[in-house]
């Protein structure tokens, strides 16, 4: 995966496959501690304790189309490349939270990528699910909530193609305002 936003889309697909009606995506850039945290929390049916010990194994999957399950293992690899780690907590019947931590300015930290496209596709592709996207840079926060979007868009349904553009523009502007970093600073110097 080239971008962290693609990992986020992939992990959120797991949440949706687990019957979630609400998915919260929280990103926190802690400039002081040089830490990037990505949290994906859902209210799906959760993972049993037995399965939880195996989910990061690339040769374990609960699906039957193929014998590998790479989503979480790839994210784990992406965190470990830059002195981070991946943590998963789950309670059966209540939901799951995946927390990925990265060294924010590590040279090998993957760029965040297009969060607007990720959120646009998640929201427009799953109009009945409630999504929250919160992006915090130190004490500045950008928030996108589907229940607020419904109020703004009125008669326009969330699966309308216009919604993708709306979400993209809102996120692009919002992240600019709070000064979110796409690339690690060490990479910016080279670009």
């Amino acid at each position: 995966m080239l971008e962290l936003s693609m990992h986020i889309l992939d992990i959120a697909q797991n949440s949706l496959a687990a019957g979630s009606t609400r998915v919260d995506i929280r990103i926190h850039e802690d400039l002081l501690d040089d830490l990037l945290t990505i949290e994906i929390q859902d209210n799906g049916w959760g993972i049993s304790e037995d399965v939880l010990t195996k989910v990061m194994d690339p040769f374990y999957t609960s699906r039957t189309t193929r014998g590998v399950g790479l989503g979480l293992s790839l994210l784990k690899e992406a965190t470990e490349l830059c002195q981070g780690h991946l943590q998963i907590r789950s309670v059966e019947g209540q939901g799951t939270v995946v927390i990925a931590r990265f060294r924010l300015d590590h040279f090998d930290r993957a760029p965040l990528g297009d969060m607007g496209e990720t959120m646009g596709i998640l929201i427009a592709g799953n109009p009945k699910v409630e999504f929250l996207y919160e992006h915090r840079v130190n004490d500045q926060t950008y928030i996108l909530e589907t229940w607020e979007m419904r109020k703004i868009l009125g008669a326009i349904d969330l699966d309308d193609p216009l919604v993708i553009d709306f979400v993209r523009q809102d996120i692009s502007l919002g992240l600019k305002v709070i000064g979110a970093a796409t690339f690690p600073k060490t990479m910016e110097v080279l670009r």
Partner: protein, 104 residues
């Protein structure tokens, strides 16, 4: 996902498993939605699916037109996706050069 036989509207399925996303399914999905919006294809249903097992052919796009058999396009790029929308999904002319598999 359930696909009902005899559906009256065209359905497009984009593979959005880990393999699909890693191969670029997200911009492909965005291009399909955008092109449909531009060309007035609001009645076309676009849905996502998981991994179909042909990961090396991702991004995969299935086209189900009413009364016609399923056509699967492989290694779809956003540009190819826009052509598929214009020619096949809305125009009814399959693009054999991009086809990975066809239902018999």
């Amino acid at each position: 996902m359930e696909l009902r036989i005899g559906e009256k509207t065209t359905k497009v399925v984009v593979g959005m498993g880990t393999c699909g996303i890693a191969a670029g399914a997200r911009p492909v999905m965005a291009a399909i939605k955008d092109e449909l919006a531009k060309q007035g294809g609001e009645k076309v249903t676009v849905v996502q699916s998981g991994c179909a097992g042909f990961c090396e052919q991702e991004p995969l796009v299935d086209v189900f037109r009413p009364g016609e058999k399923k056509v699967t396009y492989g290694k779809v790029s956003p540009d190819k996706a826009r052509k598929i929308v214009t020619e096949h999904i809305l125009g009814g002319r399959m693009l054999p050069e991009f086809v990975f598999a066809q239902e018999k």
